[in-house]
């Protein structure tokens, strides 16, 4: 089956073609055809990935690496790029959950988008296109094909954020996402080029193939490797919404909620982490780049968590939470705990997708209401949503036994072991904040008295089965998903780590001294601290939003500036606008009106005006009198003759 890996992106592509070209017709005939095609395509992809995964497991670990060339994309001089897919533990792990979660969310969308007339086929076309791009991103065996997926998911994100484009703000949010991703891609492309030429320079191997380039990355100077790493990471900050390019993600919540779940939580935004993990040898070699990854990740996770606690839009809270969790993942890969980072990608995709689907279900029930101040008391009205949401909250808060606990603990433990004590501290505080804001959402939405507006309250209903079934499946996964990576400390064998390890360790770079040995006692201690901090967060949320609801108000009154700062997201958007957008606009206008139109074109017009001026002056020579001309002729003859006689 492995040689048919191209089927994985091929199925969604077929879905795109059918729905994209014939969808408008199909929608008039029967909407069912559209979603059957779309879901079926992704489902088939998942099946193929699953079969490949089984096949891979049956092979000895050192043979779990295949590259399947489909065709030569383009060749120019020493540069040759194939459309070729890479099958190794990392890519298969990623595609397994991407197609799996993707399939569930496709199914969920049937219910969620069912009321959207006229653009149903577009929605599923975009969604399939997204799956196609995302699979290319993951399975690509070279940077260029990855970049195809990388930009492709960006475009789908743009299209889907602006799906309800009649709303100016939504459309604008889509553009913002695209532009910020573009800024990141700018770094990504340059990093790719620098890697291409520096590997070429030192080893005479010109390649953009991951395995090829990464196996030779040890021959390039550390400084160059770091530069490549940093440039690539700029791309990752754009795609995975890290400081300083994260601002698009909260706005991206303008899209339909399943899209937020699929693209802006579970899959696309983890692409940056995946890329860093994919380039593990490069980052191990250029360790200052890796250090930066860790610092940005840690700081972002804390920073985004602080913003999440003051938001009232249910989706915005989850969006900031996503940024924060992505920071965790970068922290993980940044301290060389690549498998921990990928592990957290996987578990995060389960519970974060579930959180969004839950939020979507709430929004669906409340006919589009997203403000948590207008929710409350929904626990009994939409029980399935409530229970699944609760499981997701517990998972993300790191409650022992659920998936988030294992992956988060793995990252924090490795951070500590690698000697990044401050980042570990930041991560632990963030864990507490995470628990706090997630339970804040839970309490504000499902508990207490109902603050729902009366005419909306009449329509509250549990979502249809197409929505609840995926949520239940994801809830199960969120609960048990962590058992693929139970650490040795707790008697497990960390199967995901040993499965993924070959994908990171082939670069031939010394990694012995990265982690100190941490005694088992300390490890237990760290684990307990993390759990306690999480529980404390939950308790504070309980205190604030269940028991004594005046506390938050009093706090706001006591620290108005801090609240304002957090509520307005540290004014980062406003700062960007003032520093880049306004001056850029101004500069553009000045260049256009003054420099281009007035000066450059002025010179051009000046030349023609000079010619015209001279002509205007000289035309008075034309008196119209024949005899005047005759005098001129005579004078001319006289002068000419005299000239030739004398010289």
């Amino acid at each position: 089956m492995i040689k048919y890996v191209w089927l994985v992106p091929f199925f969604p592509l077929i879905g795109v073609l059918i729905n994209g070209i014939l969808g408008w017709k199909l929608e008039k005939i029967n909407k069912g055809i559209i979603h059957w095609i779309a879901c079926g395509a992704v489902g088939l992809s998942f099946l193929v990935v699953w079969m490949i995964f089984r096949e891979l497991l049956n092979l000895p670990p050192e043979h779990r690496h295949f590259e399947i060339i489909v065709y030569n994309w383009f060749t120019s001089g020493v540069l040759s790029v194939n459309v070729a897919y890479l099958v190794d533990p990392l890519s298969i792990t990623m595609s397994l959950f991407v197609t799996g979660v993707g399939f569930l969310i496709h199914v969920y969308s049937i219910g969620y988008m069912g009321h959207d007339e006229g653009r149903y086929y577009r929605y599923f076309t975009y969604l399939n296109l997204f799956m196609f791009s995302m699979i290319n991103l993951i399975l690509a065996n070279n940077f260029v094909l990855m970049f195809l997926g990388w930009e492709g998911v960006g475009v789908c994100s743009y299209l889907l954020i602006g799906f309800w484009f009649e709303n100016k703000e939504f459309a604008s949010a889509g553009k913002k996402a695209f532009v910020f991703n573009r800024i990141g891609d700018f770094g990504f492309v340059l990093g790719m080029f620098l890697l291409f030429f520096s590997v070429g320079k030192y080893t005479d191997i010109y390649t953009l193939n991951f395995y090829n380039a990464m196996s030779h990355v040890k021959f390039i100077p550390v400084a160059v490797a770091s530069a490549v790493g940093i440039l690539l990471f700029i791309g990752a900050t754009g795609k995975s919404a890290q400081i300083p390019l994260y601002v698009w993600l909260p706005d991206a919540m303008a899209g339909p909620t399943p899209v937020s779940a699929l693209i802006h939580a579970a899959t696309m935004v983890t692409a940056g982490v995946y890329m860093v993990a994919r380039c593990a040898p490069l980052y191990l070699h250029g360790h200052s780049a890796m250090e930066i990854v860790a610092i940005i990740g840690g700081v972002t996770s804390f920073f985004a968590a602080t913003m999440a606690i003051a938001q009232y839009d249910i989706k915005k809270v989850i969006a900031y939470s996503t940024i924060s969790q992505l920071g965790y993942m970068f922290l993980g890969v940044g301290v060389a705990a690549f498998s921990a980072g990928v592990f957290h990608i996987v578990t995060h995709s389960f519970f974060k997708a579930l959180l969004f689907l839950g939020a979507g279900s709430v929004i669906h029930a409340l006919s589009g209401e997203q403000d948590m101040r207008k929710m409350g008391g929904l626990k009994d009205k939409i029980p399935v949503t409530y229970w699944t949401f609760l499981i997701a909250c517990l998972a993300i808060s790191g409650i022992p036994g659920l998936s988030g606990f294992f992956s988060k603990d793995e990252i924090l433990g490795k951070t500590f072991a690698s000697g990044h004590y401050f980042l570990w501290f930041l991560g632990t505080v963030t864990a507490g904040l995470t628990a706090f804001y997630m339970f804040r959402v839970l309490f504000m939405t499902f508990f207490g008295e109902s603050r729902v507006e009366p005419d909306v309250a009449k329509h509250i209903h549990e979502s249809p089965a197409t929505m609840t079934v995926p949520m239940i499946i994801l809830a199960v996964l969120s609960a048990i998903g962590g058992y693929i990576g139970v650490p040795h400390l707790l008697g497990g064998s960390n199967r995901i780590e040993s499965f993924l390890e070959p994908s990171f360790s082939y670069g031939g770079i010394e990694t012995e001294n990265l982690f100190h040995h941490v005694p088992a006692g300390t490890e237990y201690f760290l684990m307990i601290i993390a759990v306690l901090v999480g529980l404390a967060g939950i308790y504070v949320a309980y205190l604030f939003y269940m028991k004594n609801k005046s506390i938050p108000e009093n706090l706001v009154k006591k620290y108005p500036t801090l609240h304002k700062l957090l509520y307005n997201k540290w004014y980062i958007d406003e700062i960007y606008e003032a520093v880049f957008e306004k001056p850029g606009h101004f500069l553009g206008s000045v260049l256009w009106m003054i420099w281009d139109e007035l000066i450059v074109d002025g010179i051009v017009k000046g030349v023609s005006n000079i010619v015209r001026g001279i002509g205007c002056g000289l035309r008075f020579v034309q008196t119209g009198s024949v005899q005047f001309y005759a005098v001129g002729v005579l004078l001319g003859i006289v002068i000419t003759v005299t000239y030739f006689l004398n010289f």
Binding site: Q622, S625, V626, Q627, A630
Partner: protein
């Protein structure tokens, strides 16, 4: 004085009269006649030198000049007639509409 110098002087004298006439006279017909005078001054020189150099070339050329001058006279006079009909004058100072 050599006789061909005499011929040249006469020719130059006639030519100058013609040229001055072209430049200063107002009546288009007079101007026209002055042009003919210039032609003939040149013709005189040609005939003279044809004689002195014992060559038929000059005489031949004169014949051509005469023919062209005649044709030109025909066209020119016709133009003057038309001009007079349309403008009521053939004063060259007044016929200066072809200016700036």
């Amino acid at each position: 004085m050599h006789s061909h110098v005499v011929v040249l002087f006469l020719s130059a004298f006639l030519f100058s009269i013609g040229a001055i006439g072209v430049l200063v006279r107002k009546n288009a017909i007079i101007v026209f006649m002055c042009i003919e005078l210039m032609f003939n001054a040149a013709n005189l020189a040609l005939v003279g030198y044809s004689h002195f150099l014992k060559s038929i070339d000059g005489v031949m050329l004169v014949l051509f000049v005469l023919a062209v001058a005649a044709a030109e006279a025909g066209v020119g006079l016709a133009l003057f007639v038309l001009l007079f009909r349309n403008k009521g004058t053939i004063d060259v100072d007044k016929l200066n509409i072809l200016k700036w």
